[in-house]
Amino acid sequence: MKDRALLVRQCVAESIPRPVEDVEIDAYLMETLGADSLTFLDIVFRLETEFDIQITRGEIENAARGDLSEDEFAPGGVISAAGLERLRELMPESIDRIVPGLKPMGIYGLFTPRTFLNIVETKLASTD
């Protein structure tokens, strides 16, 4: 079976673009690897094609919000304590950065290749 982590890193590497050797699994996509919002779209497309899955746009934020309303999740544009707690459960790889003051747009800054690997494995597990 192909190494899923390597496949995810390859998809990320091709999107940025950077050599796959430079794409460490826990590197922050935006801050360390130079990804932007268009890169995220491209990464998602490549992962969907590679793994034959569908990744809903904004599903991390939607999963974090759960049944919280937008005002409950991010009152005044800042993620609430409850929202932060759920993000920490969803994105343990970035727990150090999920701190008070985080805004919804800042969720992109938390993404690492491991974030996408976790998404891929969750999707694949749900279809097994």
Binding site: S15, I16, T39, L41
Partner: protein, 337 residues
């Protein structure tokens, strides 16, 4: 028509990445045509092609720009590192692109398994259409991205079609002449080595059936090329260029008289003519376009680079090109420096 001063050029073509390399290989008798190196063209009427060797430099813009547009980016950055650029509002970017075509390699995965009534269209293939598909087909992508990268805020434009390179040069020359800008970067690129382009050419009768490169072929070799030129107002030490373009309304290649009429009176003192570019079965040894293949919008810039390389100071040359539909271009270069 306004004249401009040629400051510097850079290019990527099937026979090399500099004018000197290309002319050296042409003089050694090389021609770039051969089996299509970019995709399997065995089922196409046009099986010969010529491509730029190697790949463009890694570039974040690869998600938006095509392979040959990325080569054009490389050319532009190469030449711009060698020249001094003016303030933002005095620098203009002029880009010349080939025909705007939907790229089949992007469409085919999305369409080939569709049902007649398009039921389940998303699952049957549209999910394979890249989210940037529409963005990738915008003709002015390169101009926009270069303008941001080079901080160019002066007058510029994007031109399309087989003589777009000549059109871009002419427009840049006019802008310089009236003082709208002080420096123009003219970038041209085109690839005829694409499935949709080969089918179109075959339908127009411009195809070759040769399995191997022959001295005389029926039609021309589809190729790809990119080139960038930096222009200023004419001055000491700068080769002077003038460009004219015209059209006669023909759906296929223009009438020979159209090119003759455009060139008339502009060839005084000329010692070298860079090919007719008419794609007729009369290969001319040394002709840059015949040796590299036909490169549509990049033709005039490629020819000017050849003239700049081959002429001695004080000599003049003429570059002639023609393409469907009914388009012709003439460029004159008076060598200095």
């Amino acid at each position: 028509m306004s004249a401009a001063g040629l400051v510097d050029m850079a290019l990527r073509a099937p026979l090399g990445r500099s004018a000197a390399e290309i002319q050296r290989r042409i003089a050694a008798g090389e021609r770039a045509g051969g089996a299509n190196p970019l995709f399997d063209a065995s089922t196409y009427l046009t099986r010969l092609a010529a491509a730029i060797a190697g790949e463009p430099e890694p570039n974040k813009n690869a998600r938006i720009l095509s392979r040959v547009a990325l080569f054009a980016w490389d050319c532009t950055l190469e030449v711009c590192t060698r020249v001094e650029l003016p303030a933002a509002d005095r620098l203009g970017i002029y880009t010349a692109v080939g025909g705007l075509r939907a790229h089949w390699n992007a469409f085919m995965p999305a369409l080939q398994h569709q049902e007649d009534d398009l039921q389940h269209a998303w699952n049957n293939g549209f999910r394979f259409l890249h989210p940037f598909w529409m963005l990738q087909h915008l003709s002015n992508n390169l101009q926009a991205l270069l303008a941001m990268h080079l901080n160019a805020q002066g007058e510029g434009g994007t031109f399309g079609g087989a003589t777009a390179g000549a059109q871009a040069l002419a427009a840049a020359s006019r802008a310089l002449a009236v003082g709208a800008i002080d420096t123009a970067v003219v970038v041209a690129y085109d690839s005829l080595v694409e499935p949709e382009a080969l089918v179109e050419m075959a339908a127009r009768g411009a195809s070759t059936h040769a399995a191997t490169v022959a001295e005389a072929v029926s039609g021309y070799i589809p190729a790809e090329a990119a080139a960038a030129a930096v222009l200023r107002r004419p001055g000491p030490g700068l080769s002077r260029i003038e460009v004219w373009e015209s059209a006669d309304g023909e759906r296929g290649h223009p009438k020979p008289g159209t090119l003759i009429e455009l060139a008339q009176g502009r060839n005084g003192g000329v010692t070298l003519i860079e090919g007719t570019g008419l794609g007729e079965p009369c290969y001319q040894p040394g002709n840059t376009l015949d040796a590299n293949g036909h490169v549509g919008a990049a033709s005039t810039l490629l020819q000017l680079a050849a003239l700049q390389e081959r002429l001695a100071n004080g000599q003049s040359g003429l570059a002639l090109s023609a393409a469907a539909p009914g388009l012709v271009a003439v460029a004159r270069l008076d060598k200095q420096g």
